[in-house]
Symmetry: C2
Subunit: 189 residues, 2 copies
């Protein structure tokens, strides 16, 4: 249940991202660009090597494998999304924080749809992510609702709405704006 005085203060500290070499940062940047521009199927080790001018096998001098690369991409996305969502909650007032949070979540996810899909595909090894990152990036939902279970429910609803919108992007002409409004209404008491 939402209490007065929201949005709540930050509690979880922003985790410290693990240090990466210059080359690794270049690889991750190229991977993000490739994923965003051409989708998950185009994100192959050979293709990624081409992008930075080395052979696929040489990537293994910098990264242990493709799962680690994918985790690094997701990690970048989680940091950016966490920053964006925390900032929105900082700026919003108690009355509109849920709607503002949902709007930003929607905007951010759809803007980087391929990365979002990868992050939620269920095959990312969470243990490869910086500890505490999941909790910190999800905290805005707790700050906006004041209740951990309502926060989880709201997060789940937002995720589901994003997926719904992505899947119906080419088939359905239904009014997704109205769906998002219905969602915000359901979670604004």
């Amino acid at each position: 249940m939402a209490r007065a005085g929201l949005p709540l203060a930050r509690i979880a500290a922003r985790p410290e991202p693990a240090g990466r070499s210059e080359r690794v940062r270049e690889i991750v940047a190229a991977g993000l660009a490739l994923l965003a521009a051409e989708g998950a199927d185009a994100l192959t080790m050979r293709r990624l090597g081409d992008e930075i001018g080395i052979r696929a096998a040489s990537l293994y001098k910098h990264l242990p494998g493709k799962p680690a690369l994918e985790a690094a991409l997701v990690e970048t996305g989680l940091f950016e999304m966490g920053d964006a969502l925390h900032a929105v909650v900082d700026a919003a007032g108690p009355a509109d924080v849920v709607a503002a949070l949902l709007a930003e979540y929607r905007r951010f996810a759809l803007m980087s749809a391929n990365l979002y899909r990868l992050a939620t595909s269920g095959r990312i090894d969470r243990s490869l992510l910086t500890p505490g990152l999941d909790g910190w990036s999800g905290e805005p939902f707790y700050r906006a609702t004041g209740d951990p279970w309502v926060a989880q429910a709201l997060f789940a609803a937002a995720h589901g709405a994003v997926i719904l919108e992505m899947d119906s992007a080419y088939s359905d002409m239904s009014d997704l704006d109205a769906t998002w409004r219905a969602l915000a209404r359901a979670f604004t008491t």
Copy 2:
């Protein structure tokens, strides 16, 4: 907003599944079993061929390719889920229809987690599915809420909660029951 007199009657007719030969039904059944038992990575054409005693290449005498196989598996799941959800809405009263629908959706999705993941992976070609199936299998959410946008929002929320539960199955000890209760509460006015 929920109106009095719910749950609503059925409107969309259950679509007629396209006819399949005996062999195709056998292949689809083996695919479902393989997917359920060993996950998406195990669902390869060679492995599937082994399962029914033919070579992978021979599968192409019955199916045009792996996307068509995956669509057939998803189609089976959508029919079963649609039947289950419609039945629950039939049996429920206006006061508890949302909670009952959510409970059945949760149960069904988690029971066939691998198939559910495949169905919502975003790479199923919707045009390979029986026309009207998507609409019919989602109709219980409209019948339970009485409003198309609330229905979509509730459907999205249910999907998100399922994914949340699957992803946190091995990492998180949080109380998902409470999350589902919060969800049902948010959509029961």
